[in-house]
Symmetry: C2
Subunit: 249 residues, 2 copies
């Protein structure tokens, strides 16, 4: 154990943040930390947009489903997958790069690259005593978000991150048991073992909600997840990406 | 600045690792750190396979393009996107979840979730004095990798991570300038400004390679990236994911 791992293990999403703005130095340390993450074949296929304009923040909060913490925070980052600059690199070098850029493989690289950078940003922010919350809600209405942020083709806002001084510290939600997530040498495919592990985890989660809500919430992991997946969301994404020249082939 | 940010900023990929095995305690700390990362709507859509069997490591190294560090390291992790357990959760709860699981949106969630967890693992390992290197090469021949690791449908090995005691510390490659990656309130779309920033970055990279190779390598970022994208790679990925019931709709 060390200070770094303590920071990692102490993570919880903080949804109540003070509106005290981050300093320029804090923002730059967070972005520099993001950039220090590994990047596939040096591709650096992301951009980060910091939203400080209050009107823009308010509009983004509406688009993300009226989440208060999109508006009220110390700084709001939007992490975008970015293959636009790579198209320009192709132009500059007079190379045919579009087939690659349009591939599912490079779409995956773009998503993974952006997420690695974002997680470094999250850790950096938390190490500075700040709280963070990822916001997938910006994918609810991506056409409008792209317009608001003036992103060119092949730049896709993937998720936001609200950062700020915590107003209220929340609990940590228990994760799946390590033995369920972690396999040795091959994947454990025994469906009955797998379901049994999920049943046991359900008991942990049920107790967690019971204690946290003084008996008001009765829920399990599988019911929460199955309920979430049953309600289909953002099913426009497949066509949206095609329209933006990504994940096409 | 603090110890956490120092760790983040000190990152470089380490490709020469000792074969001294990690302890069980180290592996568990790394996996627990991975699990502590944020996860979209609590979905936890990844699994991690640790490869310790020497024959399996050797085969994986072959499949990943004969990268020596896949075989020689302290521990080799394979990070898999996993929506298999969510299908089981649907079964257990008798809910119709397949349309969601097959969507591009959930494919994206799976990729982002896995990458956030992996980056926490990388940071944890580096904080323990270990070196890491991400291995995208395991996507070269995914059918064979899936067979080797016995993964069920909807579990996709996305990338590997070699971890171990560094044998040789490499240089850090300079990242794109912060002003190029980071925008305020909206994306900077002026193509000429953008290209000029890339030209300036090219000079930095050219000098970096010149100094590092004592004048032998003359390369820029745009030429490296355009060259990489011109050579199409892993173009089978689009069909592969469809076959595995992901990114379908």
């Amino acid at each position: 154990m060390n200070q770094v791992i303590e920071t990692l293990l102490a993570h919880r999403s903080i949804r109540q943040l003070q509106d005290k703005p981050l300093t320029k130095e804090q923002v730059e340390l967070i972005v520099a930390s993001a950039q220090a993450a590994s990047t596939s074949s040096y591709i650096q296929s992301y951009s980060i947009i910091g939203i400080t304009d209050p009107a823009k923040k308010q509009r983004l909060a509406e688009l993300a489903g009226n989440q208060n913490y999109v508006e009220k925070n110390g700084h709001f980052f939007v992490f975008c997958g970015d293959l636009y600059r790579h198209e320009l690199a192709g132009d500059m070098e007079e190379k045919e790069v579009i087939d690659s850029i349009e591939s599912t493989e490079k779409f995956m690289v773009m998503l993974i690259d952006t997420a690695l950078a974002a997680q470094n940003a999250a850790i950096a922010a938390e190490s500075l005593g700040l709280g963070i919350c990822y916001i997938g809600g910006i994918r609810n209405q991506l056409d409008e978000v792209c317009e608001l942020l003036n992103t060119p083709k092949r730049v896709i806002p993937l998720f936001g991150m609200a950062v700020g001084y915590p107003e209220k510290i929340t609990d940590q939600k228990p994760r799946l048991p390590l033995a369920h997530i972690y396999h040795e040498n091959e994947y454990e495919q025994d469906e009955s073992v797998y379901k049994q592990q999920l049943e046991e985890y359900n008991k942990v989660i049920s107790r967690y909600y019971y204690e946290r809500t003084k008996g008001k919430r009765d829920d399990t992991w599988t019911s929460q997840i199955a309920g979430m997946l049953e309600k289909q969301s953002r099913m426009y994404m497949h066509d949206f990406m095609k329209k933006h020249g990504l994940n096409l082939k």
